[in-house]
Every structure is written in structure tokens, then in C-alpha cells.
Amino acid sequence: MNRRDFLKKTAVVVGGLSLPLSAFKILTPKELLASTGSKTKTRWVFLVDTYKCVGCGMCVKACKLENEIPYDANVTRTWVERYVITKDGKTFADTPKGARDGFVTSKIDLGEGRYQDIKDKDIDKAFFVPKLCNQCENPPCVQVCPVGATYQTDDGIVLVDRKWCIGCGYCIMGCPYGVRFFHPVYHTAEKCNFCYHRITKGLKTACVQACPFGARQIGNIKDPNDPVAKIIMTERVGILKEEYGTKPQVYYIGLDREVK
């Protein structure tokens, strides 16, 4: 067989094979699951009503105790941010110790032990924004984990396997919301998981239960009768950092353009 014949025959074989093969479609496990109709009936979502939040920090405290994050370590699974926008258009924001102890002073924490005093008459608007893991539909942290130690459950929660995490920190770098950190004791990646051990048993998350004002709610978006799902479906809600394409599943009422 000379070169010309070889090329000719190769072209025929490749052409002949690719035609019938193109009739097939490769399904991902997810697509296969969807096509067989065995879909899970739960997709956990979170709703935060920022109008109701007063920055007391009960949620942060409850979270730390419930999820065994060392109380005095400067990391936390959930936190509350304070925003103060002054009449001259400046925005000040802080979250001292993640607001674990609430906001005990009206002075804004600028870091490195410096504080900014803002007079009440200079303030245009001020509000609190609780933050937690967004349990993204398209989670970048899961994408970048080199060993698959962090994964998404069928009901949408992103979990970390403490026995398998190598502690490279790529997921921490990949999260645009800054919700991940290294656990000070286990030295593995750590994050909010909507208190998965509680919600799967029909309980509320620790932060939802601790909030005295009902600013935090958890629900199932796939259940049309779920009060949280109803609000998300029928009212105007916002999400954080939409531009990253992560499809976050924590919805906010009363979000402001200044919220980072």
C-alpha cells in the first residue's frame, strides 16, 4: 500500500465511521438522570431579607457553635456586613470578627486597629447584609478541586470531604464570595453547608433558628408550596456577583448596588 492509497482508505474509514456515530449522543450522568425522570425533589435555597437584619450577630454565634468552628478564630462560615453610605457619596463597610459579637460601636472598622467615626447627620443610608455560602448551581470551587474532595449533592449543597481534602487552597482562591477558608483544627477547606446535618433531618439551619427577626430563611425551590420558594418566584429578589456565572442560590430582598 502506498501513501496515496493509505490516505484514501483512511479518509473512507473515518468518513464511514463518523456518519453513523454522529447519530449517537453522549449523555452526562446528570442528563441521563433527568431523562429517566428520577429527579430529586429538593433544591435547597436561602432567602435573606436585609430589611429585617439588625446586625445582632446571633446567627454567626450560633453557626460557630453548631459547626465547631473555633470561637475565637478569625474565620467563620457565615457573617454579617455593615454598609454605611454618607451624604458625600462615600461607602464604608466593615464586619468586625464577622459580626460574631454584633456591631457594638458605630465606628467603622478600617483594619489595622483604625476606626472611622461617622456622624449620624452625614449618613444617607445604612444597612446590614448577612452572607453565607451561595451553594452555586455552577460552583467554581467544585470545578477546581483537583481530587474531587468537594462535591455537590443532588439537592444542591456543596460539601467538603475532610478525609480526602489535600489542602491546596485552590477552592478558596476560586470562590468569588470568599466563603471558604482552612479549618484551624482539621486544616482542610471549610465552608457553610446550610447545616446539611440539620436540614436533611427536617430541622432549620442554626443561623435561621437563631435569627430573632426572621431575616434568614431556608427553603426548597422545587416545592411550589414552600413559602420561601413562593417569595423567590413572585417577588423581586437579587443575587450576589452575577457576573461570575456561578448561579448563586442565596436570594436577597433589599440588595443595594453598594453591596460587595
Partner: protein, 417 residues
């Protein structure tokens, strides 16, 4: 204490969990892989493109690349919170992650370098093995040497003209194959950073290309530096004692060979340096021109907080100064040494400004984080992720090179290639 808290100082509004998690060892990682890739590309210039003037440099660069190869994954091991679990990457590779393929890329590259070395030194192994085989009453060390070299021949003792011709062809193929793999090894390190969409400074498709170019620059610079150092030592030995081993190369001979190789290599260094700088500047200009949401905070970091690191240390002392030194006519050895040292420093600063600079601002775009390199270690964390850890990683390939050079003689070795 939380990991990263010890060397991070936060300012203005940052999220509570933000720290500089990727510290000095992650600066060392692309720096070291860059040296590996660069050294290999330099050696391939001779083997593949037949640039004869680089012949002496080529073998040296290949052996050095092999020594560097062992040091390249060490920064990652020192960085991992669970270093013993590092093997998990190979066991359950999660291929949507850029890091997951590290083992595969690294080992395939290692296999290429090792086999190319084997073909290059096969004749040498066989000769030594055969000469020891015939020798009666071998001493213990000779016996060990005999076993080592017998193993290294892999049972192939054919060193006829014909067989060596085939070796040469194999080297050419492997060197050719090695160039894309070496570029991939390093472009891939660039991809690890460039694909992090959460980081405004890192995310650019130019990142892998910038990394490859600066990798080649640093690789050539390090080879040049080590080459000069080794030649100087040999000159010193040649003038001091006249052992039969060094008889056939006098000090003057060595000097002229050295200067010739240095001048040629410096030309290639310049060529790749201009590429690297152009790409880096393109990236900077593009960011300023498009000025997307993150530009405000990036500008304050680039032109404000990190001005000294970026414009004085990296572009000024690390790029502009050596460029001038190399471009001025009448290149001398001393000027070359200063030049390559500055180039290496410049590439290191580039890695530093990417890795640490990328974490100098908060995800809020409204706060900053300052990095303070731990110098005096007071626990394991500050030892491995501090000055000592970084220097240790940098010194490692030189020590390895000393030992590897015993088996793969880089100089005073005549062959048919």
C-alpha cells in the same frame, strides 16, 4: 491561628475569611517549573533546530533540567496543608480542575527528559560498564559503580556506529516532542492562575503565554549562570593542578570556548526576553484601556501599593537594566553574570507580583491585604512557607545537579552527537 493569618495584614473592607492563602511556595512553584521548561527548551535548540553553537550548552542544559525537575513539585508539597495526601491527585484526579493533570503532565515530561538523557549517555554507560566488567579484583566502590552502570545500560550493550545513529535520531524526536510538553508543563502552571475567574488580576488568557515566555527567559538565564560558574571552577582547576584528566584543555582554550557559548546563549536570552516583556506590557495596557469593574482596585495596587515591586524591582531592575547590559556592545563575562542574575531576579519578581499581587486586594474590591514574608521561623508553618523554605527549594537543584553530574558527566565528554 488560621492558616495565612500570620503573614497577612488586612486593610479597609475585606471579607472575614480572606487571607493570603497562596504564599511564597506558590511563588516558587511557577518559578521552578519555569526554570525546568526553559532549560529544556534551550537544550532542544541544539538537538532539534541544529544550532551548532549551542552544542556545549545543550547537554549541560538537559542534565540541569533533569536536576531541576525533582525540585519543581517540592514547593507544592511544602504548600499543601496535608502533604501526605498529595498522592490523592493521582488516585482520584478530578479533571475539571487545572491542578488534577499535574501528575500526568509532570511525569510524562519527566519520562521524556529521562529517556532523552538515556539515549544521550547510553554510550558512556556502556563504556564504563564494559571497562569495569573486565577489571579483576574490583573494590567495593567499583563494584557498586559497576552495578549502577550495568543497570543504567538497561541491558543494551550495542554501541556500534549504526546503533548510535539510531540513538541520535531518537534524541531528536524526543527533544522535538519535549518542546511542546515543556511548554505545556509551564503554560499549564499559567493556566492554573489564568483560569481563576474570581481573581481579577490573574484571569487573562494571556497568562499561560506570558508564563511560557518568562519561563524560557529564566531557564536560559539560570543555565548561563551555572555554566559560567562551572567553567570558572574548571579554569581555576586547570591553572592550579595539571591532572591527566584536565590536560587536554588549557585555561586559554576553556576561556575562548566559554565566551563563545555565553555570547550565543545571551542572544537567545535577549530574544525571548523581548517577547516576555512585550506580552506583560500588553496585558497591563489592555487592562487599563478596557478598565472593567476591577480596574479601580487593580490600578491602586499596580500604580500605588505595589509600584516598587512591579515597576522598580520587576520592570526596572529585573528587565530594563539587564536588557541594557546585554545590548551594549562588547559583552564581558562579568557583565553577563550581573545581567543573568538580574534577569533571574526579574522573573522571580514577576512570579511574586502575580501570586502575591493577585491577593493584595480583597474580593470586595474595597480592601487590601499586605503580605509579610516570615523570615525567622518559629513554627512549622513559618519554616516551610517562609524565607527558609523558599531558599531551600532554590538551592535543592544545585545540590542535585552535583550528584546527577557524577553519573551524567556534562563536560570533558567526547561523543559522536
Amino acid at each position: 491561628m488560621v492558616h495565612g493569618e500570620i503573614w497577612t495584614v488586612k486593610e479597609l473592607f475585606t471579607y472575614p475569611n480572606e487571607y493570603i492563602y497562596w504564599s511564597i511556595q506558590i511563588v516558587m512553584y511557577p518559578f521552578m517549573t519555569g526554570l525546568v521548561a526553559g532549560a529544556f527548551v534551550l537544550s532542544s535548540l541544539y538537538h532539534v533546530f541544529g544550532i551548532q553553537q549551542l552544542k556545549d550548552m545543550a547537554r549541560f542544559a538537559l542534565v540541569f533540567s533533569f536536576a531541576l525537575l525533582f525540585a519543581a513539585p517540592m514547593p507544592i508539597v511544602l504548600h499543601l496543608q496535608h502533604p501526605l495526601r498529595g498522592i490523592n491527585v493521582m488516585m482520584t484526579s478530578h479533571f475539571t480542575s487545572a491542578i488534577a493533570a499535574f501528575g500526568i503532565v509532570f511525569f510524562s515530561y519527566g519520562a521524556i527528559v529521562a529517556s532523552e538523557l538515556w539515549f544521550l549517555y547510553r554510550k558512556h554507560f556502556v563504556e564504563i560498564a564494559l571497562s569495569l566488567k573486565d577489571k579483576q579484583d574490583k573494590t567495593f566502590s567499583e563494584q557498586l559503580k559497576f552495578i549502577l552502570y550495568c543497570t543504567l545500560t538497561l541491558g543494551v550493550y550495542d554501541i556500534s556506529e549504526e546503533a548510535l545513529k539510531k540513538d541520535e535520531k531518537a534524541i531528536k524526536v524526543l527533544a522535538g516532542l519535549g518542546i511542546p510538553v515543556a511548554c505545556f508543563l509551564h503554560g499549564y502552571a499559567g493556566f492554573i492562575f489564568g483560569s481563576v475567574k474570581a481573581n481579577a488580576l490573574w484571569m487573562t488568557p494571556l497568562m499561560p503565554v506570558i508564563f511560557i515566555m518568562s519561563a524560557i527567559v529564566s531557564g536560559i538565564a539560570l543555565c548561563l549562570l551555572t555554566y559560567i560558574a562551572v567553567m570558572e571552577i574548571r579554569k581555576l582547576l586547570a591553572s592550579r593542578k595539571k591532572t591527566p584528566y584536565q590536560m587536554y584543555q588549557s585555561k586559554e582554550e576553556l576561556k575562548s570556548v566559554e565566551m563563545h557559548v555565553v555570547k550565543i546563549t545571551a542572544k537567545y536570552l535577549l530574544f525571548f526576553m523581548i517577547f516576555a516583556i512585550s506580552l506583560e506590557l500588553l496585558d497591563l495596557i489592555f487592562r487599563g484601556y478596557t478598565a472593567v469593574k476591577s480596574w479601580d482596585v487593580l490600578r491602586s495596587v499596580i500604580y500605588g501599593r505595589d509600584f516598587t515591586d512591579i515597576f522598580i524591582l520587576q520592570y526596572g531592575i529585573g528587565n530594563l537594566l539587564p536588557l541594557t547590559l546585554f545590548l551594549l556592545p562588547g559583552l564581558t563575562l562579568r557583565r553577563t553574570v550581573i545581567g543573568v542574575l538580574l534577569v533571574l531576579f526579574g522573573v522571580f519578581m514577576m512570579r511574586y507580583n502575580v501570586v502575591i499581587g493577585g491577593q493584595a486586594f480583597s474580593l470586595t474590591f474595597a480592601g487590601y491585604m499586605h503580605y509579610h514574608l516570615p523570615i525567622i521561623p518559629h513554627n512549622l508553618e513559618t519554616l516551610k512557607e517562609g524565607l527558609f523554605g523558599a531558599v531551600g527549594i532554590f538551592v535543592m537543584p544545585f545540590i542535585l545537579f552535583y550528584f546527577i553530574g557524577k553519573v551524567f558527566p556534562v563536560f570533558n565528554y567526547k561523543d559522536s552527537h
